[in-house]
């Protein structure tokens, strides 16, 4: 990586952020949430940005992670860490079950987007009916002040660092994929599937790979969330998470590297600010902003701010020398 100094500064900033916020539980909570959702956006780049499939299933995988991790922590006393792994595997499994036929039968564009959205709602209703595991009432994880082995703590700082680790890992993974054969193959699929296939790219395999990696990571975000807030409920299968993720990824620039995470942090902060200030007055206003952004970006700047940020980072690197 070329830009060593700016990244070092950024890393230091992120590492000491909780201290800078005075260890205020509320602010740390908000920041953790923002980093959590940003992780989803970065992971989504695999299937959406590189692979070119407009996947609206993030809400499904996030919810799955929340329910499964929560369930095993509450009813089987399993550590949250185990829950995370189980969630990730379950989500990857679900991704495979829905992805394999979808790709085998050549579902593209609108039909893929629709079926991935349907998945969110199907899972929500299934878990609403599955009263043994979830059902219409919230299930609570017992409060613990600090049990790192169980992955539960009353201090939000605990989750901040777990999330930071997740975000960093996801970042590195996506970066290496982007630079390597997998990333190139995925982009060729995005650009022209037939041509890619004729060059030896196993289109189905790579789409599935991208889908399963992204669903795995997204499920983990759900597990972390549930442990942090201390409860789970089928409404965590939320189509808004899917929409939010896609909006941030597009606004940040599909397939660009720094655009989406930077855009995510900024816009998620704005969303939180709006929710706090005006959210009680006008319900849902904070989400409206995303709708407007999406429309404006598509109509006027379809590449998002990605190219802009790319040129900024290039200049930053040059300045360094």
């Amino acid at each position: 990586m070329k830009a060593k100094l700016p990244i070092a500064i950024l890393s230091a900033l992120l590492l000491f952020l909780p201290l800078m916020l005075g260890l205020n539980d509320y602010y740390v909570f908000l920041t953790t949430l923002i980093l959590l959702y940003t992780s989803i956006v970065v992971a989504w780049q695999l299937i959406g940005g590189f692979g070119g499939q407009l996947d609206l299933g993030a809400g499904a995988y996030h919810g799955l992670g929340a329910i499964i991790t929560g369930y095993f922590m509450v009813y089987h006393g399993l550590s949250g860490w185990v829950g995370l792994v189980l969630s990730g595997l379950a989500a990857a499994g679900v991704a495979f079950i829905i992805g394999y036929p979808s790709f085998r039968f050549g579902l593209r564009e609108v039909w893929y987007a629709l079926s991935s959205l349907a998945l969110v709602l199907i899972l929500q209703k299934i878990f609403l009916l599955w009263t043994d595991v979830a059902g219409p009432l919230e299930r609570y994880i017992p409060y613990m002040e600090f049990d790192p082995l169980f992955m539960k703590s009353g201090y939000k700082v605990f989750y901040y660092y777990i999330t930071l680790a997740l975000l960093t890992t996801t970042f590195i993974m996506v970066f290496r994929i982007k630079k390597g054969k997998t990333g190139l193959y995925l982009m060729s699929i995005r650009e022209n599937e037939d041509a890619a296939e004729m060059l030896g790219v196993n289109v189905r395999k790579y789409k599935l790979l991208a889908l399963m990696l992204y669903s795995f990571i997204t499920a983990i975000t759900g597990g972390i969330y549930t442990s942090m807030v201390g409860f789970y409920h089928p409404t965590l299968f939320d189509s808004w998470i899917s929409i939010q993720t896609v909006t941030l990824a597009i606004a940040g620039g599909l397939g660009h590297f720094w655009g989406p995470p930077i855009t995510s942090v900024i816009l998620l902060s704005v969303q939180e600010y709006l929710r706090i200030t005006l959210g009680a007055v006008i319900i849902g206003l904070h989400q409206v902003i995303f709708g407007i952004i999406l429309i404006i970006i598509i109509l006027f700047k379809p590449d998002g701010v990605g190219p802009l940020i790319d040129s900024l980072t290039t200049r930053l690197v040059k300045l360094q020398r």
Binding site: Y185, N192, E197, L199, G255
Partner: protein
């Protein structure tokens, strides 16, 4: 297609001609796995590859350039050729070397950092050729490689294809309407009409075949004279 049976020998250049709608591109689609045949078999170097997926066929040494170019518009020329180069390796350096070689062979090395969407059709045809060559194919299928090219560009393509065949030993199966190109370069010509083979032989034999002349009679061959 109706009962088509043909074979191509290694290191040959075979030209496939016939009026529009005769089934030539369909043949390509079946051979490369984009279409599954209702009956019949496709054999590659002795192996039965009927019903295989295109990427599996590509891996076995078949490359194809499309009738209408299918470029990777959002990628650079270099990235495009790299996709082909990665077929037989995971290593970036190895793939890079193959990509460079393919680009230099087709003469597009200078364009390597340009985005595909900036190029014109003749350039894109060369890019398509380069990315196919980067897969190190044993057989190359060319679907109307010189359509829309100027006579000078056609000449360039003739010498390039000859070079690929003679120096690299690549077997070539091509479809074309431009007779100057086909007759000039093919060792053997097969004529299709209405999904059936109506003639086969050297370019000389085929152009004198009555059946072939009849098939084209009344149809203007607009793609080229000479």
């Amino acid at each position: 297609m109706n009962n088509v049976s043909m074979s191509v020998n290694e290191h040959e250049i075979v030209g496939l001609i016939g009026p529009n709608g005769a089934g030539k591109t369909t043949l390509f689609n079946v051979v490369t796995g984009f279409l599954k045949p209702d009956s019949g078999r496709v054999k590659l170097f002795g192996e039965d590859v009927t019903g295989f997926n295109p990427h599996q066929i590509a891996f076995r040494g078949v490359a194809r350039c499309f009738q209408v170019v299918k470029p990777f518009l959002g990628m650079t020329v270099f990235e495009t050729v790299m996709v082909g180069a990665y077929l037989r390796t995971h290593d970036a350096k190895t793939a890079e070397a193959k990509a460079v070689e393919a680009m230099k062979l087709t003469g597009i090395y200078e364009l390597r950092n340009r985005m595909a969407r900036e190029l014109n059709t003749p350039q894109l045809k060369l890019v398509e050729l380069a990315r196919s060559l980067a897969t190190e194919p044993r057989i190359l299928l060319l679907d109307e490689p010189v359509s829309g090219l100027t006579p000078v560009e056609v000449d360039h393509m003739i010498s390039l294809v000859r070079k690929l065949n003679k120096e690299l030993g690549i077997t070539i199966l091509l479809v074309e309407h431009v007779m100057r190109f086909v007759m000039n370069i093919s060792d053997r010509v097969i004529v299709l009409n209405h999904g059936e083979i109506i003639s086969e032989g050297t370019p000389q034999e085929v152009s004198n075949d009555v059946k072939v002349i009849e098939a084209y009679l009344g149809t203007r061959n607009t793609a080229g004279k000479g």
